[in-house]
Amino acid sequence: MQTVPDNKLINKVGQSVRWDYSLRSMSFYLAVVSGLCLFFADLEIISPNPWLEFKAMGQGLINPKIVSYSELLAGLGNTLSFALQGMAVAALAGFMLALVYQHWWVRVFCAFIRAIHELFWALIFIQCFGLSPLTGLLAIALPYAGTLAKIYGELFEETSPQARANLLNSKSLSAFLYTTLPLAWPALSHYTRYRFECALRSTVVLGFVGLPTLGFYLETSLSEGHYAEAAGLLYVLLLLIASQRWWLRKTLLPVYLLLAVVYLPPSASFDWPTLVRFFTEDIIPLPLRAASGDGLVSWLAFMWQQQLWPGLSNTLVLSQIALFATALLALLFVPFNSRLFVGPFIKRGGDGLLIIARTLPEYLLAFVALLLWGPSMLPAIVALALHNSAIVAHLLARFSEQIVLRDDACKGVNRYFYEVLARSYRQFLAILFYRWEVIMRESAILGILGIATLGFYIDSAFEEFRFDRAALLILASALLNMAVDTLARCLRRGLHLNTTADIR
């Protein structure tokens, strides 16, 4: 990979039509690695008659029905309560952590808690607190606090220091409250609002491991093949997220939060000895629990050969293919979502489809695709690529619309490749690398559905009550995510890609 030597040079030519050599070779290697991964991927269609299932789903989508309004309301209430409470705790904790974000150990701590997916946190807390409101609250709050701390911390750092420097005692908390905080506030509240949407999605997904959110009812009706019922719930979910900007008002937040706490008090019935035993004994590798510690090496060797290596390699293979599929699909979607290529009518249609694809969580999409094709990597790839390419295409289309074309600029395919893509390719890669981390996290998680990534082994370990194995595997997934996070950041920096928060 050749990196561009001079930052200033890039500022001059960054927007030019020239295809940067480093960008080109980066794309080439991405394609080659993904192509190689295809050889190792299990892409078989196992289901005997996918078309029949597909037809049944289509019929369900056309004839949605709500069977029980009390179930629907309970699911909605629980979803909103979990998301609101989880986000409230996460925002508060994230804010506190952001205040001390300059310390390296705070950054590492935040990177660690957000590297563990909310579903894994949920699996851990289910062991401690059962399927209780507290479990749902913590599973959302912990990883989200880590993410929010990072974003808030970066926003505070990016704020112009001038106003603060003009004050006496400019390092004091008061000086921060009066200058940095209000200056960062618009971006901060914008991002927090976006994160709330993510929290709603995450909460729905938590339903798939048993918490009583909309996802729980969705999972039940989908697995039982009641597709009309599932479609009804799906439309409610889409409406809930799409209508957010009308009901999510700053002034109403305290009321919502109060209602959420009253409706679903964050309680759990647990006993301390079990809890203490879980953290001090159960998650310690079995050989270490004996005083001698014999057999640790063989335990580790077994874990590596039977679980860690297959889990890690499948996670990597899946995420790599999904990343490339995301890139291709996004490039295909962009023209249908940009004023430069299509009229307002088609653009609105493109908008609608992309909104649906990015509103539905990957996990749900993968679950549905799995019902069609059976457990192989194919449904996971389709789900990951659909959801993520919708996001990438949306962001890239918005970026492309800022490009001012000459009056005599070429049209159609030529315009796309010569004018628009050439100018926005750097941005495209930047967005793609952000999604890389997300795709990696989700690839591990989709294992819970039966694809042999890390999540599969983690879920099995929990089912067998082998918490020491689960702990090791979760630790491995966290380290993998942290490594990818770091690598993606290095790549972005090496390619002089934008690293600000606004495109996440």
């Binding site: 001038q162 003009n166 008061s174 009066y178």
Partner: protein, 244 residues
């Protein structure tokens, strides 16, 4: 550059300019630089600079833009970071907060963080009383609860002055504090600043204001102090030479 200037200057001023001067040798200087080299963005703008400023002095820094007045003021501020009221050229106000809060910011250090936090959410009586009085003097009383992004440039400059006044220090360091207001207001504001502070160091491009409000003029040219004299010895024409 400086040689050229020296040749056009009257002798008396040159003699004054060469020696390090304090108006009252009995007092310990509040600011003191000895053979200092001042750097702005990696570039040396003033070198071999020696300067003492005694308490009670009213000093004007004059010279062409880019000559290093702001850098010198910044260097003086570094000597007393929490002891001097600071009114920089770029006001650095917080646009989304009210005039009241931007002025109140000057007095943050006098209260606990909790008090300041509550005051940020809802103005508290003590701060409100003091700031309202100050805003009246600055002609901002009608805009006290307007957000800074809604007011004019001249009004924003008065807010910045208000913030510096509310720091309530004996020493005032101002970098073109009245550049965005008309002559009449400039006079009034400088009178107010002078009344509330014992020692002043002001960068001013308006030489008449400098001569009127300050008792000592320091002229900068070509990276050095080329003029340091009591304003009573100088006239507008002599100062105009600094700008050629």
């Amino acid at each position: 550059m400086s040689a050229e200037f020296i040749s056009t200057c009257p002798e008396s001023i040159l003699r004054e300019g060469r020696r390090v001067k304090t108006s009252d040798p009995g007092k310990e200087p509040v600011f003191s630089l000895l053979n200092a080299q001042l750097v702005y963005e990696g570039r040396v703008v003033l070198s071999n600079l020696s300067l003492n400023i005694a308490p009670g002095e009213r000093v004007a820094l004059v010279g062409k833009s880019g000559v290093g007045k702001s850098t010198l003021l910044g260097a003086l501020r570094e000597q007393l970071p929490n002891g001097s009221a600071w009114c920089p050229q770029q006001p650095g106000l917080v646009a989304m907060l009210s005039v009241y809060h931007n002025i109140y910011m000057g007095g943050l250090h006098r209260h606990t963080s909790l008090y300041n936090l509550l005051n940020l959410i809802k103005p508290l009586p003590q701060g409100l009383g003091e700031v309202a009085e100050l805003a009246q003097l600055l002609g901002l009383d009608k805009h006290l609860f307007d957000r800074v992004e809604q007011i004019s440039g001249g009004q924003a400059q008065r807010v910045a002055i208000g913030r510096a006044l509310y720091q309530q220090k004996n020493i005032f360091l101002g970098d073109e504090p009245v550049s965005a207001v008309d002559d009449y207001q400039a006079q009034q504001l400088l009178t107010l600043i002078a009344k509330k502070h014992e020692t002043l160091v002001l960068a001013l491009h308006d030489v008449e204001l400098a001569l009127h409000f300050c008792d000592r003029i320091i002229g900068l040219k070509g990276g050095a102090i080329v003029l340091d004299a009591p304003s009573s010895d100088l006239n507008t024409q002599q100062l105009a030479d600094l700008y050629c």
